[in-house]
């Protein structure tokens, strides 16, 4: 039975449970809901949740554990001789899974009967061809060991699935029966449901945290692999980024870090003054009507996909800059400082535009949260509006604004699309903002796209770069929190 049906049945059971539970509770109180400990809905919810949630949890755990167990069982069936030189057990296992999956599809589409699939023998019939017909492409002929393993795999999977269905159904029924039998007018259904909801919320919160931990761990493992293949000295202290696939790449992240920071600084130079002034205008000076129109308009900027900003950089800002700083005699300034549209300045300016709404929207909220009493106090002393903003409102809002800026900075460092399209691809140390440069994110994209081999340092370096980026933005966020706290102590 496919999982989706199982889930639907569970939901149906749960809905039935809701009505039955509510009915039983009411019946136990002779239809008088005032005699119940909780509202009738709680009795229904109690039965519905007890039937559904444990069953779903069992199902989720089972679906995760089953492939792992079957994999380890089946892979021990494959003899050493079946593993080619240069290949690994993992690669053979992925063949096994592919064949098993192919057989499943073939059976499902009617290209083979169940018995045929079960009794297939390698060499006897053209498995590769037949699986190809149903859309499963195999790299080579299927060898007997692989085929046997695949059949074992199928068998174990179907047994496992059946067992799972039974166990899940039993869990659901047990939950249903237990909670239904407990339903009585004196049963404290409200407390039980409240606790159940608390548990659900805690699970959701821990899932988010566990995912983060998982991401970091996977990056850490791949990074360790990378440092197994490539010298860490070169990565951290080398001065050149020159990947090639001959095996003598120089992979130092320093030029990329330089490009990243340079572009981010330019972006912040654009975004912070503009965003901050916009926020001050909107929160302190603008009338209600202006604010109602201008604020959403500004926030639209935040909704533009970054790829569109990338196009803007490539097709509008870049060529415009070239017209100013390039083209020699034909250019506006008559100089030849810039040859192509991609440059640090192009990417930085466009990224700055992208960051304006982040800075302005956050700062606006923060400035608005400065108590009116502060402004009154200052105005009451005969300060002008701008004196009040500069000397009272801004200092009071500073920790929040610094936080907003650091948040914008960590976005700038992690931004990808704009720099992919606007910054160029040359990794170098240069102070000239009209040069094209490249960033960490751009290199991750280019190292992982195309035909890649996940055993070479040229590919794995992407994970080391990703981890670097993660540490960088994490550091910025921690710094932002620290600054906010420190100032809050002083001002509160």
């Amino acid at each position: 039975m496919p999982t989706i049906w199982l889930v639907l049945v569970l939901i149906a059971l749960s809905i039935t449970g809701f009505f039955l539970g509510r009915h039983r509770a009411l019946a136990s109180a002779n239809g008088n809901s005032k005699d119940l400990h909780s509202l009738p809905v709680y009795y229904g919810n109690n039965v519905a949740l007890t039937a559904l949630v444990p069953a779903l949890v069992v199902m989720a755990i089972w679906s995760m554990a089953q492939p792992l167990i079957i994999d380890s069982r089946v892979s021990s069936m494959i003899p050493e001789s079946a593993i080619d030189e240069g290949s690994t057990r993992g690669l053979v296992m992925s063949d096994v899974r592919r064949v098993a999956e192919g057989l499943n599809i073939a059976v499902a589409e009617g290209a083979m009967t169940r018995e045929q699939a079960h009794d297939l023998r390698s060499g006897f019939s053209d498995i590769r061809g037949r699986l190809g017909e149903v859309g499963v492409a195999l790299g080579s002929e299927v060898r007997p060991e692989v085929l046997r393993a695949a059949q074992r795999y199928r068998q174990a999977s179907s047994t496992g699935n059946l067992a799972m269905t039974i166990v899940v159904a039993l869990t659901a029924l047990a939950g249903f029966g237990w909670s239904y039998s407990r339903t009585h007018k004196d049963f404290r259904a409200r407390n039980v449901v409240e606790r159940g909801i608390l548990a659900l919320l805690i699970i959701a919160a821990s899932l988010a945290i566990l995912t983060t931990v998982g991401i970091v761990l996977s990056m850490l493992f791949e990074t360790r692999n990378f440092f197994g293949l490539h010298s860490w000295r070169d990565f951290f202290f080398g001065g050149t980024w020159a990947p090639n696939f001959r095996g003598d790449s120089e992979l130092s992240f320093l030029p990329l870090l330089w490009g990243t920071l340079y572009i981010s600084v330019i972006a912040l130079l654009v975004a912070v003054p503009v965003g901050l002034f916009a926020a001050i205008y909107l929160s302190e000076y603008a009338g209600k009507a202006t604010r109602a129109i201008a604020k959403p308009l500004l926030e639209i900027l935040a909704g533009i996909p970054t790829i569109v900003y990338g196009l803007f950089a490539l097709l509008t800002v870049g060529p415009a800059l070239v017209r100013f700083f390039g083209q020699g005699e034909n250019g506006i300034l008559g100089v030849e400082w810039m040859s192509g549209a991609t440059s640090v300045l192009t990417a930085g300016v466009v990224m700055g535009v992208m960051l304006i709404p982040f800075v302005s929207s956050l700062s606006d909220d923060i400035i608005n949260s400065v108590p009116q009493a502060m402004r009154d106090g200052s105005l009451g002393l005969g300060a002008t509006k701008s004196e009040t903003v500069r000397q009272v409102v801004m200092p009071a809002a500073l920790p929040g604004i610094v936080g907003a800026i650091l948040l914008a900075a960590s976005r700038a460092i992690g931004e990808t699309m704009i720099v992919v399209m606007g910054a160029g691809a040359i990794a170098k140390f240069s102070l000239n903002p009209l040069d094209s440069m490249t960033t960490i994110t751009t290199r991750i994209v280019s190292q992982l796209t195309g035909d890649t081999d996940f055993a070479s340092p040229e590919t794995l370096v992407a994970f080391a770069l990703g981890l670097t980026l993660f540490v960088l933005t994490l550091g910025l966020n921690v710094l932002a929190l620290y600054i906010v706290r420190k100032y809050r102590e002083q001002y509160e």
Binding site: G287, K288, P371, A373, M374, R375, D376, G377, S378, L379, G380, L381, G382, A383, T384, E387, Q391, V392, P395, A396, Q490, Y491, E492
Partner: protein, 265 residues
């Protein structure tokens, strides 16, 4: 109200500092102040009393044009400070507010050091030529605020770290530092405990020597204790205005009598 003591409210005739003529205030459609005429004397404490929402704070805020910061607020009539209309187009509200200082209901020290809080006004008005003069102004103001002895050793500490009563006295010192001619106080003791209130009231009596003080208060005892003149507001009307002793012992209007004896309010 029998335990109310009316002491030392001697009224000497002083020159008129602020004269309001036919003042009306509207918040959008709402008519908050109706035809108020009042004359506030120099070197006198004038108390505005009345039930909540009667417009006494609104009227106080008209006296230094703090209502300008509220978009929907509209003021008609004349308010003369030393004979000049403060709502005249030529008058800069910023300058006016330096002359007519204000202390608010809730202590609102800036998130700065105690020193900078007091030095704020003198700095923006350029009252001090150098650091030494500024130090002098700060010390003088803090002494006038009756808080110098408590804070002289920690002038660089944030003003927000003081207790509520100290904060309010700091705010008074801050208002005094700009050398105003009139000091407006909007329920300055409503957020304070009795001891701090007593300190602030003592201070108000001190301040009377140099300034004209206008105080809005909810507490009739307070009005009786600190003021020489009392104005009773009710539903946007100025019902009665006269010497404090007279208002509390021998009110002319039945509404005033009802209020001070606790029947309305």
């Amino acid at each position: 109200m029998n335990d109310m003591t009316v002491v030392d409210n001697t009224v000497e005739t002083q020159s008129i500092k602020i004269a309001a003529k036919d003042v009306n205030v509207y918040y959008g459609e709402a008519h908050a102040i109706k035809d108020v005429n009042v004359e506030i004397e120099d070197k006198t404490v004038t108390a505005f009393i009345g039930p909540s929402g009667c417009g006494k704070s609104t009227f106080l805020r008209c006296l230094n044009r703090m209502n300008d910061t509220i978009d929907i607020c509209r003021v008609t009539g004349d308010i003369l400070l030393d004979g000049e209309d403060i709502y005249d187009k030529r008058v800069d509200p910023v300058q006016l507010r330096a002359q007519v200082g204000m202390v608010f209901q809730k202590p609102n020290p800036f998130p700065k050091s105690i020193y900078d809080n007091v030095a704020y006004g003198p700095r923006i008005h350029g009252l001090a030529k150098n650091k030494a003069e500024l130090d002098e102004i700060v010390e003088k103001s803090l002494r006038r605020g009756a808080i110098w002895d408590e804070v002289k050793d920690r002038l660089d500490k944030p003003g927000t770290g003081l207790s509520g009563g100290q904060q309010q006295r700091l705010c008074i010192a801050r208002a005094v530092a700009t050398e105003p001619e009139v000091l407006l106080m909007d329920e300055p003791c409503s957020a304070l405990d009795p001891i701090a209130t007593a300190q602030v009231e003592e201070l108000i009596d001190e301040l009377r020597k140099s300034y004209s003080v206008v105080i809005v208060t909810h507490s009739m005892q307070q009005a009786a204790r600190v003021s020489q003149k009392t104005a009773f507001f009710h539903l946007g009307n100025l019902v009665e205005f006269g010497p404090t002793g007279h208002i509390f012992t021998n009110p002319e209007d039945p509404r005033t009598e009802s209020y001070i004896t606790g029947r309305i309010g």
